[in-house]
Symmetry: C2
């Protein structure tokens, strides 16, 4: 059985607790399917929410970016952070306006991130970030130079205080509303992958490699 994370005042679901899930396995499934998170942090009482790519490695969530980034520099001070990952699965059309909803799977992680300063760990983290978003890409591209590594900040957030929230399936209408002549159900939504578009400056004679042409199969 999957480990259950301890709920805290910050991750406990006050409303609709049956949508909450604290199983590490369920949380990791969501983290491994998505690749964009929204990072929340507070500077001088002002909250900011910034989208960025991420990867999960073991029990840590990794993010990275320019060493000049305001967000990364703030997080590097080990301030409180909230990272949220959201997958939207569908629009839920009920018979009443009130019971309309969305199907989604989201994860909220609370904690403090640490700079990954060890050079080997940092290189491994950048590899993981690349492979999570585009598997098998790393081996084909020019690796980072020493200067590029220096210009990049990698942060690691332990996944200890975290919860998933999931809604799936049909609308839940008030019992008397099921008699109404209103269509009800779900409009599914998903992120889909289009046909790769070659760079205008692509060198002649370079074929699309399998990690690009098969990307559709990788992401559902």
């Amino acid at each position: 059985m999957s480990e259950i994370l301890q709920t805290t005042a910050k991750t406990k679901l006050k409303r609709l607790p049956k949508r909450g899930n604290f199983e590490r396995e369920k949380i990791y499934q969501i983290l491994d399917e998505a690749f964009i998170c929204h990072v929340g942090f507070t500077i001088d009482n002002q909250p900011f929410v910034i989208p960025t790519g991420y990867a999960r490695v073991g029990d840590n969530l990794l993010i990275h970016g320019s060493a000049a980034s305001r967000m990364l520099r703030a997080l590097a001070e080990e301030i409180d952070v909230c990272v949220t990952v959201t997958l939207i699965d569908g629009l839920v059309l009920a018979r009443s306006a009130f019971h309309h909803s969305m199907n989604y799977r989201s994860v909220v992680i609370i904690g403090k991130a640490k700079v990954v300063s060890d050079e080997r760990e940092k290189a491994d983290a950048l590899y993981a970030l690349s492979e999570h978003i585009i598997p098998n890409r790393w081996a084909e591209v020019r690796p980072p130079t020493a200067n590029e590594l220096k210009a990049t900040l990698v942060l690691s957030l332990p996944i200890t205080e975290a919860s998933a929230k999931i809604r799936a399936g049909d609308p839940i209408d008030d019992e008397e509303d099921y008699a109404l002549d209103v269509w009800a159900g779900v409009i599914p939504l998903r992120l889909t992958i289009g046909e790769p578009v070659a760079d205008d400056r692509l060198k002649d004679g370079i074929e699309i490699p399998p990690h690009v042409s098969n990307y559709k199969n990788y992401r559902r």
Copy 2:
């Protein structure tokens, strides 16, 4: 020409300022295409980021939910909030690991939300929230009862301190890397609409209405 919002210390882009955009028209295009935002707020120094649906009406962003929601009750106290909307358009594959990126369009709005308490305004807001996500749905469903309205909190955030950030197009590689034998380009991503799935308890003889069957055409 579209109005340009004033930049402030909070919305000014410190890095890659050429990706920033303060035109009201550009900001509204992004807000009108997406329908999920991530709301950031701080309680006892802890930032939280929660996904929710929204609608833009005029120069305000509306969100709503249960009057029992921790987030909405906190925001109703007119605390500082950051609302971020992100559309992911593609993965940008460069010839070097370092220059990989994503194409995206995002909006960040900073400010304080106010409760929409006037009953007429609140009803209009709920209509707008529904129509933004599923146009022409409202007219076909059972409208909210007085009790449902009471159980719902609507908040309005003025779009005054806001900015868009946009990346589009090909990778930008270091000049010498264009000679490498590496495929480079963009893998497009978009949210697509699947075939509607009827509720298991759908009454016999109810056809899929045009606002559901044509939803694909509405969202690109």
